[in-house]
Amino acid sequence: MAYLVGRIASSVVLAFAVATIVFLALHLVPGDPAELLLSTGGISPDPAAVAELRERLGLDRPLHVQYLGFLTGLLRGDLGRSLVDDYSVAAEIALRLPRTLELIAAGTIIALAVGVPAGTYAAVHAGGAFDRIMSGVMALLMAVPVFVLGTLLILLLAQTLKLMPAGGFVPFWRDPGQHLLLLSLPALVIGKGLVAIVFRMTRASVLDILPRDHVRTARAKGLAEGRVLRAHVVRNAFGPVLTVLGLHMGSLLGGTVLVEYVFNWPGLSTPLIRAVEGRDYPMVVGIVLTVSGLFLLINLVVDLLYAALDPRVRAG
């Protein structure tokens, strides 16, 4: 219980620090956001317009007042309004976040479903043909960037073989089959790096567990080999795999931006890229904070899962 409370508290502190860094990055960098926003093609904007915008954004107030306002807004779930189209940032995120989450969940499930069995098999038959081939395949998967793999898959499967659409989105309730078909490619691509990481970690972890005494005990009991592997090897090896999974969620979350763009998946990526291009600060800040918060949350969940898996962690 003390562990639980401590771990949650540290996540809250980190979330607060992340928000602070974002705030500082926006406000301490030289150059006035309002001026930058209004200037086009090197022409200085109208001072009156700049002053009006500064007031609307609250930039004319003292820094600490702005900071407090920013934090209380965050706590109330108020992320401000888009400078470009005046939409509520929170509403836009609420609409699109589930789609991004779906992509992430699907990618993670694919990574675990492929990486854990393959890594275990490779470890049990270490040095064998499967192990060598998979090590090569995984190195290649690690190396190919998500947008390259996504683009090439579209070229091959959609453009050349005409097997599936090049991308897009259909709500699940309207056409479940089409929804899953459209989900499959981006999910595969987003999961590819994670597959390699899960495979490597599972393999190393299983190799580490296999020679342990308790595995010999399990065999000495006369358990079937499959049960020995499941209950006494993979079960023990899973903790480190989970931890690495959590750590690499960061690149996975970043990768969704590119994958959604490549496959026209209407998640957070589209408004984010548009906002970066248009210097729509509230929208960028809102999305960056949401995804970073998600990253913190995933790592919190991973650590708590780890504690559930390994009773020794709970004990302290």
């Binding site: 980190l14 979330a15 992340v18 974002v22 990055a25 926006l26 960098v29 270490a126 064998g128 190195a139 290649l140 690690m142 190396a143 960037p145 998500v146 947008f147 390259v148 683009t151 090439l152 579209i154 070229l155 453009q159 190393a204 580490d208 005494d213 308790h214 010999r216 005990t217 399990a218 065999r219 000495a220 009991k221 006369g222 358990l223 079937a224 080999e225 006494h232 079960r235 023990n236 960061g250 996975l252 979350l253 970043g254 931006v257 590119l258 763009y261 984010l272 890229i273 970066v276 210097r279 600060y281 999305i287 960056v288 995804v291 970073s292 913190l296 390994d310 009773p311 020794r312 004990a315």
Partner: protein, 621 residues
């Protein structure tokens, strides 16, 4: 080491050629990579344009090489800045602690909470796209990685003796950091450096692909992919070249990083490297050998030989070992570490590591040869008719399952009874092996129990299915003295009660006298003497047995340690294996000795067995 050089060679060569191309590209006389030629847009391969022209008629080959220059320039510059800044901050934080630590390490931790591309996009929003933004943003992104590496290494280095010594000698802090700490952290930093280069190229190309990185028309692989994507129907090849260049480059950096990591950290190399090949199972001919009708013997081992394939060649840790165990009898196997006791019993259980296998002999247990049973047949015996109590109860229980469940699992592996019934049996077993508060202990985790308690759990597990033969491999070695006595008493009780036979491996001859009917003395993989305990202890025939007995502390004589140690299996002597350490060795001992029978169940492997008088009786006379 040679394998490592081979692994480093390919990625190093690739990266070197990329760097050379990037540096030389302005002098290669290539067409201007940004000059547009709209009439010739999307034309295929042609003289002067070996890879064709892109959507603006620009030369693709030239853009590809110039793109390498852009990518590598951004990656190397940003990574170098991050490495310098991060190492400095991490070292200062690790050395001075306090405020410096807070400012460097804690802020680095917070930056690591951002998904990399998201933080990058935030920076682009503030500063606008461009090469300068890329370099700044990638430096910020990757500084924390170096801070962490440098900080961790400094913390572990600063307390080492030579650093303390320099501080005591009055060296200044910058000097100590530069001279002692930096060389020590160089290798992990190098690994981090190569890792970061690859990662930086990924982020740079990704952002350029989104149109938020390198600004057109500057040639960049990410931008080329972005452009070719729009025209992939007409010119799919245009997509392929930059994709290939990018992937190969990142692969080269990743491979370099892996090879460096393995070179500097042998532990991780071991986990990646190959284990000995699994054996080709040669046990698929069960029941071909007639089983001996040894009346009364529950286990009869003849000529058991185990070989292990190692890097130095094949070794034989167990060589021609024969013994029998009668029903309800206790056999003690004694000998120093390395004499082959554990390998002998492990091979009977079919639990040898993959590299080891029994190559000769037979081990008839209840009418079946254990060495020639299929893995499934052996599995059915293990834990049912044939059970084992391990040496180290601390590591022999799975830490992630409750102890009760692990006992229940042993019961359910061999009997199809309901789970609650198995749990009730486990409870009775806990009670039987003397675990206090058994109801509650069933739901305890292994780490909540003492060593003695855990060994009781292991014993409960071993007797769960009423085995005919129990094998205890030094079951008390890992326990403290009072626990040892309790566990031995428990084993003796159980044996009386259940009538199961017991093979007991031990270093302690005192225990042997107490518990065993017969004793087998092993040395360097061979049986050197065996017979009834009382007879062997009263008058040992083999000098090694006599030496083991003399090494036991007794109140009337000081213990005499045996000089030297058991030779490793690849250096077993040609003749009598004990001869080099034997005070009675004579010329005939240079030849291999057979095991000779001496009546009354006594067998000895010694050239001088007839003419020596050994043992404490001889000393006293």
């Amino acid at each position: 080491m040679r394998r490592l050089h081979a692994r480093l060679a390919l990625p190093a060569l690739l990266i070197l050629s990329l760097v050379v191309i990037a540096l030389a590209v302005p002098f290669l006389g290539l067409p201007n990579p940004v000059r547009q030629d709209i009439p010739n847009r999307l034309t295929g391969m042609a003289p002067g344009a070996p890879l064709g022209r892109d959507e603006f008629g620009r030369d693709v080959f030239s853009r590809l090489l110039w793109g390498a220059r852009t990518s590598l320039f951004v990656a190397f510059t940003a990574t170098t800045i991050a490495a310098l800044a991060g190492t400095l901050l991490g070292m200062l934080g690790g050395w001075f602690r306090g405020v410096a630590e807070f400012l460097s390490v804690r802020i680095a931790d917070v930056i690591l909470c951002f998904p990399p591309i998201l933080l990058a996009l935030l920076v682009v929003t503030i500063m606008g796209p461009g090469v300068a933004t890329l370099i700044l943003m990638l430096s910020v992104l990757y500084t924390p990685g170096f801070v962490r590496v440098a900080y961790g290494e400094v913390l572990s280095t600063r307390n080492q003796d030579f650093v303390t010594a320099m501080t005591a000698l009055g060296a200044t802090t910058p000097r100590i950091l530069a001279l002692t700490v930096l060389p020590n952290i160089a290798s992990p930093l190098l690994v981090q450096y190569s890792l970061t280069l690859g990662a930086a190229i990924v982020v740079e190309s990704g952002l350029s692909f989104l149109g938020l990185g390198v600004v057109p028309p500057t040639p960049s692989w990410g931008l080329m992919i972005r452009g070719a994507r729009a025209t992939m129907e007409q010119a799919p090849l245009l997509l392929l070249w930059p994709c290939l260049a990018l992937t190969v480059t990142i692969l080269a950096f990743n491979l370099l990083c892996d090879a460096l990591r393995d070179a500097f950290d042998p532990k991780s190399a071991a986990s990646v490297g190959t284990r000995p090949r699994p054996r080709l199972v040669d046990r698929f001919a069960p029941g071909l050998f007639p089983t001996r009708a040894d009346s009364g013997a529950i286990l009869s081992v003849r000529g058991l030989t185990v070989e292990i394939g190692t890097r130095r060649g094949v070794i034989r840790p167990v060589d021609d070992v024969s013994f029998t165990v009668g029903a309800g009898e206790t056999l003690a196997i004694v000998g120093e570490s390395g004499s082959g006791k554990s390998v002998t019993v492990t091979s009977l259980m079919g639990l040898l590591p993959a590299a080891a296998r029994p190559v000769a002999g037979e081990a008839v247990f209840e009418g079946h040869d254990l060495l020639r049973r299929s893995p499934d047949q052996l599995r059915a015996l293990r834990g049912a008719r044939l059970a084992m109590i391990p040496q180290d109860p601390m590591s022999s229980l799975n830490p992630v399952h409750k102890v009760g469940d692990q006992v229940v699992e042993a019961i359910l592996a061999h009997r199809s009874i309901a789970r609650p019934a198995a749990r009730a049996e486990a409870l009775a077993l806990f009670r039987r092996v003397g675990i206090a508060d058994p109801e509650r202990r069933l739901d305890a985790w292994p780490h909540e129990m003492s060593g003695g308690m855990r060994q009781r759990v292991m014993i409960a597990m071993a007797i769960a299915n009423r085995p005919a033969l129990l094998i205890a491999d030094e079951p008390t070695t890992a326990l403290d003295v009072t626990m040892q006595a309790q566990i031995l008493d428990l084993l003796a009780d159980l044996r009386r009660e259940t009538g199961s036979a017991l093979i007991f491996i031990t270093h302690s001859l005192g225990v042997v006298a107490e518990i065993a009917d017969t004793v087998m003395v092993m040395y360097a993989g061979q049986v050197v003497e065996q017979g009834p305990v009382a007879s062997v202890f009263a008058a040992p025939f083999h000098p090694y047995t006599a030496a083991l007995l003399a090494a036991v502390p007794q109140d009337d004589a000081a213990p005499e340690p045996i000089p030297g140690a058991v030779p490793p299996p690849h250096r077993f002597p040609q003749g009598c294996r004990f001869a080099p350490r034997c005070g009675h060795a004579q010329p005939p001992c240079g030849e291999a000795q057979p095991l000779r029978h001496f009546g009354n169940g006594r067998e000895v492997r010694c050239a001088r067995a007839g003419d020596l008088r050994l043992g404490r009786a001889a000393h006293d006379a």
